[in-house]
């Protein structure tokens, strides 16, 4: 059995596993629903997610420890993840295979030549990791100010180290070493006073933009599966829709189509996870290489080389994705997978100059502070940024969210959507609630998103915590925002039409939307005057309104002038008269010539911010079709005490 066949099986296995995981990510107990399927497993296997969140949060959350398994095996075997597991890599390989199928051997070899541009992925990796590590780095820089003891110990350790290494060298210059040490200490002390722990430099996480696993999860969850839903195959209870997926689709599609030009374009040039594996694989114990140098340089081994790692000459270990194609393509049986270095020599280090490294690191360190100058984490926060229940406070949230779209996929009512610019460029594709799409608001007894989030950007809360029951009775239910009535758009407020759909649909008890009844006199077009009347009937002089126009139950009548201003409900009317309800007859029939006023009973909604949890059911149900007349903003959200609307008592 050829190892290449096994590789294909393995790739197919993980690709199907990935597809299956995406499809089953809907809430339910059927075998094709979430149950307990480890749908995050492939995300967790991606060690870049683990590493980047480790840098930004200084913890490795739960299942992200699986990344360690990948790291350990990469150190032993090389970049097996890219060639054997990565579902995005498998897609690229397949599209690339289709594209070059008809090409000549020579052309194929040419396509698989190493390109110096393949170093770009290391730049990207360094950029993304410095984004995550900025806070950590600044905290280290501030050590002299925050933890003098630790700083002193570190300094002493460094000094001892320098002295020891100087003693081992024969031509050491103690003066020079002392000088270097002093400069080093002075710079550190200076920097420690310069930096402050501001929000602008707080931890951030942007690996989700380009890390292939979150990218492919996001693309499948938000673009491909909703497309499939529109065929006769339905992957969810109702077809899914997501806001602002254009860019996500464009990136996904371009990444796939670029394989037509260069096979595995994304893996070779862009992929930061691949870059990370590339760096780790320089430690690999086993690697692909030639057994001897008796090679005629036919370069057939490069015909199907996925990594463009030039196995013919000095093999670039960091670029080799262990596709194993060269093993069988070599007619001379020179290629093998062995513990010894290739007979033709190896190149271990990524093709990365110090200048490039520094440029990437510095721009990574500067990127987030530059974005955050906008103050979006402070006073300039966007109230439209309603996060799912259990989401951490914005700063902590942004240090964890990898934009994988799992919460958006699992949400049973389809209200979680990828953010556009509500959270700024930094918050692109992070989950935000949009109550205009979906089947309802955020269900107040659902805790699915937090229990699925692979990085705990949305905490795994219990139903008790969500509803503020039992242990959580004191802190009350989790609020994700507050509904506000737009009195200029609300039917009972602005247009004399009865409605109260929002009040009826408010799911919390006691209801967070209350109504107050008012009677508003409406313009009937013509003056209605009593011709004759008894306790229940009024007949008009001339013709009045259309038949049964006022028989909806919402209309009332008052006859003026009268001592009795109580509105009486109209139960029926015809062109020349009306009848009122039995319950409250006229104590004395209106006298001819009296004016008849038609009033409408309106129940005007009010939001009680103490009880409103911001679930958005009201916004979803509001009959005003465009911009809703009741809308939820993130004011009073539990996750940010600074956004409190009311005093707690």
């Amino acid at each position: 059995m050829h190892i290449v066949t096994t590789r294909r099986i393995c790739q197919g296995f993980f690709f199907i596993l990935f597809l299956g995981f995406c499809v089953v990510t809907t809430l339910g107990e059927q075998w094709w629903q979430l149950r307990g399927w480890p749908v995050n497993w492939i995300i967790q296997l991606d060690p870049l997610v683990g590493l980047a969140t480790l840098l930004s949060t200084r913890t490795i959350y739960d299942g992200l420890l699986w990344g360690l398994v990948t790291i350990v095996f990469t150190i032993i075997l090389g970049r097996f993840f890219c060639g054997w597991i990565c579902p995005f890599g498998s897609m690229h390989q397949f599209v690339g295979f289709l594209a070059k199928r008809k090409r000549s051997v020579l052309e194929k070899i040419k396509l698989n030549q190493y390109h110096s541009g393949q170093a770009i992925k290391y730049w990207i990796l360094i950029f993304l990791l410095t984004v995550s590590a900025l806070e950590l780095a600044i905290d280290c820089l501030r050590l002299p100010a925050t933890n003098r003891l630790l700083f002193t110990i570190l300094m002493l350790a460094i000094l001892t180290g320098m002295i020891l290494s100087a003693m081992r060298q024969t031509r050491a210059n103690p003066k020079k070493i002392g000088f270097v040490f002093l400069i080093f200490m002075a710079v550190w002390l200076l920097l420690s006073t310069l930096f402050k722990g501001y929000q602008t430099s707080a931890a951030a996480l942007q690996i989700g933009l380009l890390d292939p696993i979150p990218l492919v999860y996001r693309s499948l969850n938000l673009v491909i599966l909703p497309l499939v839903d529109r065929t006769s195959v339905l992957t969810a209870t109702i077809p899914r829709a997501y806001d602002g997926t254009g860019l996500i689709a464009a990136i996904f599609l371009s990444a796939l189509l670029l394989n037509l030009a260069v096979p595995r374009f994304y893996c070779r040039f862009i992929c930061p996870t691949g870059a990370m594996f590339g760096i780790l694989s320089s430690l690999a114990l086993w690697r692909v290489g030639k057994t001897s140098n008796e090679c005629i340089d036919c370069r057939l081994c490069e015909k199907n080389c996925e990594g463009a790692c030039s196995p013919t000459s000095q093999i670039r270990i960091n670029e080799c994705v262990l596709c194993m194609n060269c093993l069988n393509d070599c007619r001379h049986n020179l290629m093998t997978y062995q513990s010894a270095p290739s007979a033709a020599g190896e190149m271990h280090a990524p093709d990365l100059s110090r200048r490039q490294f520094l440029a990437s690191a510095v721009s990574g360190a500067a990127a987030i502070p530059m974005l955050r100058v906008s103050g979006r984490l402070g006073q300039n926060w966007d109230p439209g940024l309603v996060r799912p229940p259990g989401a951490l406070s914005e700063k902590a949230f942004l240090s964890r969210c990898i934009k994988c779209g799992q919460c958006m996929r699992i949400c049973p009512t389809n209200v979680i959507h990828p953010a556009g610019m509500q959270g700024g460029l930094e918050g692109l594709w992070t989950p935000v609630l949009n109550f205009r799409i979906g089947t309802s608001g955020c269900q107040f007894n659902c805790i699915a998103c937090g229990n699925l989030c692979p990085t705990a950007a949305i905490r795994p809360i219990s139903l008790d915590e969500r509803l503020g029951r039992n242990r959580y009775i004191e802190q009350g239910p989790i609020k994700i925002g507050t509904a506000f009535v737009d009195r200029g758009r609300c039917l009972p407020w602005a247009m004399d039409r009865p409605c109260i759909v929002c009040q009826e649909n408010c799911p919390v008890s006691p209801k967070a939307i209350r109504t107050r009844a008012v009677f508003a006199t409406i313009d009937t077009g013509a003056q209605l005057v009593v011709a004759k009347a008894d306790a229940l009937y009024i007949e008009f002089q001339g013709t009045g309104p259309g038949v049964h126009q006022f028989a909806t139950g919402d209309y009332y009548t008052v006859v003026l002038p009268s001592t009795d201003h109580r509105p009486r409900r109209i139960v029926g009317n015809w062109e020349r008269g009306l009848r009122i309800a039995d319950g409250l007859p006229f104590e004395s029939p209106p006298r001819p010539g009296s004016r008849v006023e038609i009033q409408i009973r309106l129940q005007q909604p009010y939001v009680d911010p103490q009880h409103c949890i911001g679930c958005g059911v009201c916004e979803h149900e509001c009959p005003v079709p465009g911009k809703r007349a009741i809308r939820v903003t993130a004011d009073n959200e539990s996750r940010t005490p600074e956004h409190a609307l009311l005093l707690k008592r």
Binding site: C10, G36, N445, A448, P460, L463, H565, G583
Partner: protein, 342 residues
């Protein structure tokens, strides 16, 4: 070379087998993992707004007041209890009617008739705090096409429902449709409720004080506040009379002290006069009775002891006077013992 090739391919096969068995282990692991449900999934049942009511074997226990249930009637949902804060969750806008009349608690439960699949009924037991409040809500919504029932002093039924006053409880049992199967079980449930629920007899003594002659049956109403558009009038019992094809109304109300009754009488007189009423001199054997013509109808107001009483909307002065005198006599005879029963 050939041997080496063979060697190589054997090695590849071996490694392949190892890898494939690892994949098997992964599959096994995943299948094992999926039986540990994600905590997010376990809430699925609660995601539904209401439990699916098609379940046939719902083990709900019936509300104690209705035990034993008539044959074939089974609980359909659990008992729900509402207080003043959340009453509107159940009956929405109608809550105002109950709240203004001193509502304290609503207990309700749905029942199902096993013999008819689409027939179910819901029992509402409103605890109104006292019998007067209960009578107020009972009388305020007395239905038109109703048929009086003998099982209680104040009970009637409509084609699909039963309404009853029992002590401080106002009870409604409403069926899902009009059917011949409805009246019997509903009535039996009401009787069971009365047996199970101790209640001071509905102390609507005012009922006995209205003269029986020419009284329109079941026309008595208790108006809690703002009776006849006058905001000083609260807890007014009214009853309708039909005399010679004309209808007129008698009313009375027990005040705390005779002085209060007297003062309220004159205050209402002032109110009537202010809105266009005219004083009419009339000889009545009632002390301090006032007769007023307003909007072509006649009103008489008087007080006796701590009772305030009166006649409204009489078409002629004679009819008003006759009824007023009858009412006055009833008050003189029965006023004291009726009150002392309480």
């Amino acid at each position: 070379m050939l041997r080496e090739n063979k060697n190589n391919s054997r090695r590849q096969t071996f490694v392949s087998m190892v890898i494939l068995s690892i994949l098997m282990v992964i599959v096994a692991g995943i299948f094992m993992a999926q039986s540990h449900f994600n905590p997010g999934v376990l809430q699925k049942d609660e995601l539904l707004p209401e439990p699916n009511q098609d379940l046939t074997s719902a083990p709900w226990s019936p509300h104690a007041s209705f035990v034993p249930l008539p044959e074939g009637i089974q609980p359909f949902t659990s008992t729900e209890i509402f207080d003043a804060r959340n009453l509107s969750d159940k009956i929405n806008g109608k809550a105002e009617l109950y709240l203004s009349a001193g509502f304290t608690r609503l207990t309700c439960q749905r029942f199902k008739d096993e013999r008819a699949t689409d027939l179910w009924m819901e029992a509402f037991v409103y605890d109104m705090g006292n019998s007067q409040n209960a009578f107020s809500v009972f009388s305020a919504q007395r239905r038109k096409d109703s048929e009086a029932l003998g099982l209680a002093q104040h009970a009637y039924r409509t084609p699909n429902a039963l309404f009853m006053l029992h002590g401080r409880y106002y009870v409604e049992i409403i069926a899902s449709k009009v059917s011949g199967q409805v009246p019997e079980p509903v009535k039996m449930m009401a009787e069971t409720f009365m047996r199970n629920t101790p209640a001071e007899a509905a102390a609507v003594n005012e009922a006995e004080l209205f003269p029986a002659k020419e009284l329109v049956k079941n026309s008595m109403v208790l108006i809690s506040s703002d009776a006849f558009g006058y905001d000083g009038f609260d807890k007014i019992y009214t009853a309708e009379y039909a005399v010679d094809g004309h209808s007129l109304m008698a009313y009375l109300s027990h005040r705390r002290t005779p002085v209060e009754a007297k003062e309220l009488t004159s205050a209402y007189t002032v109110f009537l006069l202010a809105y266009g009423g005219k004083n009419i001199a009339a000889q009545l054997p009632i002390k301090d009775a006032r007769c007023i013509e307003i909007l072509d109808t006649y009103e008489i107001v008087f007080s006796h002891g701590s009772y305030l009483a009166g006649i409204r909307e009489a078409a002629t002065i004679d009819q008003a006077q006759t009824l007023a005198i009858r009412l006055y006599h009833r008050l003189k005879e029965g006023g004291h013992e009726a009150r002392s029963e309480q």
